[in-house]
């Protein structure tokens, strides 16, 4: 590879560019594929110029935000230039009275929320990796968190984007107003496309006011059936939960450990690099103390936002339903305990929440209908039991979203892959009846065996054609997405 020519071209296009060291390049490897250069444009124009050059010269481009999800999908067929959005991290504008903002894609979610919070608003999107993960990365992977129960996903709050296409052309779709049907809704196409159709540069967002109050109630149910049944009763009631989570008992005790322990400031945050193999939180936190706060059982976790009186009424009503459906214990959280519990739930399954001494190696997400969540969890538990693999689960129940973390006493190795592949295939078959099952973080060799994405359900040709027409040379993230796109 003619690296010198590449470095000199990048140097002329991006201010402050310097060839990266061997170590830096290695640190930017994507599933083991080491790039030739890492560059961080500081404006949409310089991003555009970089991509245009790459396209003309036949280099491939790997967009990168906070680097928290670089192992999503498959290894790229080639990785020449990693384009970091880290320098494009400003809130361009925020109009509180319009409840809209425009931000550059490289801003971290934490930075975005802090900036919006200064004026009493926020983006109601709380995916894992919220500290280091960037807005662009979250959109490219369509990541979501507990708030999807009440606010949906990025596709429900992005009102416009500016995108650098594979040939460097800057295009926009949507606009800056909350209601707009002019033109095709290409925002939707870019969100969740893993940067294969264009690089998100700037995003227009629909915001919400910060709620006056927030509280959580946790019912300890006799089993997952009772927990799911109660969840359905909550959904069918006049309660409008802001989130409604089903967690397995071990995961919950770990969550409780994080919020129950008096760890002071910074609990549940801080180690946001891809820490899947670390299991650090559990080691640091005192799980037992949290566990003592609620009776053992299968937890159902409901949260309410809004005006104080409304939140109080709903928490009371929720407690009544929990007790009616057999809760053996009910815990209410507010204030700091509530905030810390929410933060630790948001971090799942980023990897900290595995029991002390365990090593997490694989996280997955399933999308099913709510009434399939219980069976899917039982299937996972049963298959994991046979393999002696630990299984953590957190489900955003109302949307049928289930996040799994699979863990063992040591990092997963080649010898474990047969069993894990069988596990994934079983869960995928069950999920794909109506939905999907995606392997998110996993060793590349395991992803290669089972496929990260699963089935595109008869739409492969359309997706391949869209990719081909938007990126005929295969410049952007080649090979990482579904069906080899």
């Amino acid at each position: 590879m003619p690296d010198e020519a590449l470095h000199s071209r990048l140097g002329s296009l991006v201010e402050g560019y310097a060839p990266a060291s061997r170590e830096t390049l290695a640190a930017h490897a994507v599933d083991g594929v080491v790039p030739a250069a890492v560059v961080a444009p500081d404006s949409v124009e310089s991003l555009s110029a970089t991509v245009k050059m790459a396209s003309e010269q036949g280099y491939t481009v790997i967009p990168r935000g906070g680097g928290t999800k670089m192992d999503f999908g498959h290894p790229p067929s080639r990785a020449d230039i990693v384009v970091s959005l880290a320098r494009m991290n400003r809130i361009v504008s925020h109009e509180p009275a319009d409840q809209t903002a425009t931000a550059e894609a490289g801003i971290t979610m934490a930075g975005l929320q802090a900036g919006l919070g200064e004026r009493g608003q926020y983006l109601p999107l709380d995916p894992p990796h919220g500290d280091a993960g960037t807005l662009g990365g979250v959109l490219a992977t369509n990541a979501s968190g507990v708030l999807r129960t009440s606010f949906g996903t990025a596709r429900d709050m992005v009102i416009g984007v500016r995108v650098v296409q594979a040939d460097g052309t800057i295009v926009k779709s949507g606009g800056r107003v909350v209601k707009n049907v002019a033109g095709y809704d290409l925002n939707k196409l870019y969100i969740g496309s893993l940067g294969t159709l264009g690089i998100l540069a700037e995003v227009n967002l629909k915001l919400q006011p910060l709620p006056a109050a927030g509280r959580m109630i946790i019912g300890s149910m006799p089993g997952i059936s009772a927990a799911a049944e109660c969840a359905f009763r909550v959904l069918d009631s006049e309660i409008m939960p802001s989130f409604l989570e089903l967690a397995d008992p071990v995961t919950h005790s770990l969550l409780a450990g994080e919020h129950g322990a008096d760890r002071g400031n910074g609990a549940g945050s801080g180690d946001a690099q891809d820490g899947d193999a670390q299991g650090g939180g559990a080691q640091r936190g005192d799980g037992r103390r949290g566990n003592d706060r609620t009776a053992p059982g299968f937890p159902l976790i409901a949260g309410m936002f809004g005006p104080e009186e409304t939140v109080d009424w709903q928490i009371g009503e929720c407690e009544r339903l929990l007790r009616e459906t057999g809760a053996t214990g009910v815990t209410r959280l507010e204030g700091d305990a509530y905030r810390q519990a929410l933060e630790s739930m948001r971090a799942f399954p980023a990897g900290r929440l595995v029991p002390r001494g365990m090593q997490s190696g694989v996280t997955c997400r399933a999308s099913v209908t709510p009434d399939e969540v219980e069976a899917l969890y039982r299937l996972a538990e049963e298959r994991c039991g046979r393999l002696s693999v630990g299984c953590g689960m957190l489900s955003h129940f109302a949307s049928g979203h289930v996040a799994f973390v699979f863990y063992g006493e040591r990092p997963f190795q080649e010898a474990d892959y047969d069993g894990l592949a069988g596990l994934v295939e079983a869960l995928r078959t069950a999920s794909e009846q109506h939905g999907a099952f995606v392997v998110e973080h996993a060793p590349a060799a395991l992803k290669e065996r089972v496929g990260a994405w699963g089935s595109s359900r008869g739409n492969r040709h359309l997706m391949e054609m869209l990719k081909y027409r938007f990126d005929p040379k295969g410049t952007l993230n080649p090979g990482r997405f579904v069906d080899g796109i």
Partner: protein, 481 residues
């Protein structure tokens, strides 16, 4: 294939009773709610299943004949105006609610199901389908999906795309597939999100899984009376600035009040310059606190009177009056032309000023009934369609208002769509590469350009708006009723 052969093949596929081609029967299908231009289709077919839609589309694809899908024909942008020499695929016979799954809070419906029928069907169990366009008593869910329709109550809960999980689609070559499905988050590109709002140009929706939403426990519906439009406009921004998200926030100005009152006798104050309909919904606990905050904002902005809907009946009448406002406008002049633009909600005072100035400049009567909460304006221009000069002024005035929307940071359509009406206004908000990206999508889905051609994309890219201005206003605009 000549017309006779075509009709024979359609009849063979669907049966004689599901094909019409007699000129006198086709008149109904010449246009939708936008009557400024008309075009009779060669034939109209009424398939009853997705397979029948696919069979028809395969015939047309093979023969290279363009087609357009149609629901109830209530669209206001000419989205279902038949293409030249084309066939119309009417989905009104596909009107079954196939499955209601209360446990998972979703329903499988055919494209021709009337929007309000679904909400009525699930209402007894305490649910509804949120998107509620003013035409909801007639319009179909398939049409809502094609246009990504809104309505007064989408301020809080979002528009059609936010309530649609998956769509069964007949692609322009006749293949049948699903984008999304019963569960959320399908793998790969979000073809579901791309298709919704694509105005029937990427395929024909035959069935959809849509979300059902629990009806709220309580409502507070207010009619707030103002002596100045500016005060009402400022109250809108003020409510939102307080962190209150009403479920609906509508404005009606003096011209429209007069028309509505004459038609429905709700008791609107005829001397008011503007009224706001503000609806809060949620839990009984805390709702009055929010109501007090809303009242305070209105008071600060010189509201003359705040009336509360006393009961369900009064609330229903208030909303009926609002939703049938355009029909009532028909009393003021032989014709009227409803526009659809968007501004950031803080710019409502500015755009209302522009509308007034424009009305005076052209000597036209313009009434306003609109979704103030999301800045989605609907100026309704009264004119006489027999007067060519007035018709021309109407279009010019309307384009001037839309340009002002764009200058204020807004858009040329919030819920009616580009359709046929606004093709030549697209360059006001999109540059050539933006439009090319959309055309690329169109080519991927519909290589032969058969599915609703002639919509969305500008015909004359060097002259913004000149295509629309040349249209002849010879037909009376059909009232929505």
């Amino acid at each position: 294939m000549d017309k006779e052969q075509l009709v024979d093949r359609l009849v063979a596929a669907l049966g004689r009773e599901n094909v019409i081609d007699a000129p006198d029967q086709l008149i109904v299908y010449e246009c939708d709610g936008l009557t400024i231009d008309r075009n009779a289709p060669h034939a109209v077919v009424y398939p009853t299943t997705a397979e029948e839609v696919a069979a028809v589309v395969r015939i047309l694809h093979e023969a290279g004949i363009p087609f357009v899908a149609r629901g109830a024909g209530t669209g206001l942008s000419g989205g279902s105006l038949p293409p030249d020499g084309g066939v119309m695929i009417a989905l009104t016979k596909m009107n079954r609610i196939v499955e209601v799954d209360f446990r998972n809070q979703r329903a499988l419906v055919e494209a021709g199901v009337v929007n309000l029928h679904l909400s009525k069907e699930v209402g007894r169990q305490g649910y509804h389908f949120v998107p509620d366009p003013s035409s909801q008593y007639a319009c179909t869910i398939g049409g809502n999906i094609a246009e990504n329709s809104g309505g007064p109550h989408t301020l809080k809960y979002g528009v059609t795309t936010n309530h649609t999980l998956g769509v069964e689609v007949v692609l322009p070559d006749g293949q049948v597939t699903w984008f999304g499905g019963k569960a959320d988050d399908a793998v790969g590109y979000d073809l579901r999100g791309l298709l919704i709002g694509s105005e029937g140009m990427l395929g024909i929706v035959t069935r959809a899984w849509v979300k059902l939403t629990r009806l709220p426990q309580a409502w507070r519906t207010f009619l707030v009376v103002f002596d100045r439009v500016e005060d009402a406009s400022r109250a809108v921004a003020g409510v939102v600035a307080r962190g209150i998200v009403p479920s609906a926030l509508e404005m009606i100005d003096k011209v429209a009040i007069g028309a509505i009152e004459a038609a429905y006798h709700f008791g609107f104050p005829l001397d008011a310059e503007a009224v706001l309909i503000i609806e809060l919904e949620g839990h009984e606990a805390g709702l009055d606190t929010q109501a007090e905050a809303v009242a305070a904002v209105c008071g600060e902005n010189q509201a003359r009177d705040i009336r509360t809907a006393e009961d369900k009946k009064e609330r229903a009448l208030l909303w009926t009056s609002r939703k049938r406002a355009f029909g009532a406008m028909g009393r003021l002049s032989p014709s009227y032309y409803v526009q659809d633009g968007v501004v950031p909600r803080t710019k409502i005072p500015d755009i209302m000023g522009v509308i007034q100035t424009t009305a005076e400049k052209y000597g036209l009567l313009i009434g306003n009934v609109f979704h103030a909460g999301d800045g989605n304006i609907h100026p309704c221009i009264a004119y006489d369609d027999r007067d060519a000069e007035q018709a021309r002024k109407t279009v010019e005035a309307s384009n001037e208002i839309l340009r002002a929307c764009v200058d204020l940071g807004g858009s040329i359509t919030g819920e009616h769509g580009i359709g046929y009406e606004k093709v030549d206004l697209m360059p006001l908000i999109f540059d050539e590469p933006d439009i090319q990206a959309m055309e690329t999508v169109k080519e991927v889905f519909d290589e032969r350009n058969l599915s609703n051609p002639g919509k969305m994309f500008p015909t004359n890219r060097s002259c913004i708006g000149c295509g629309t201005a040349e249209l002849k206003y010879t037909n009376r605009q059909a009232a929505l009723l």
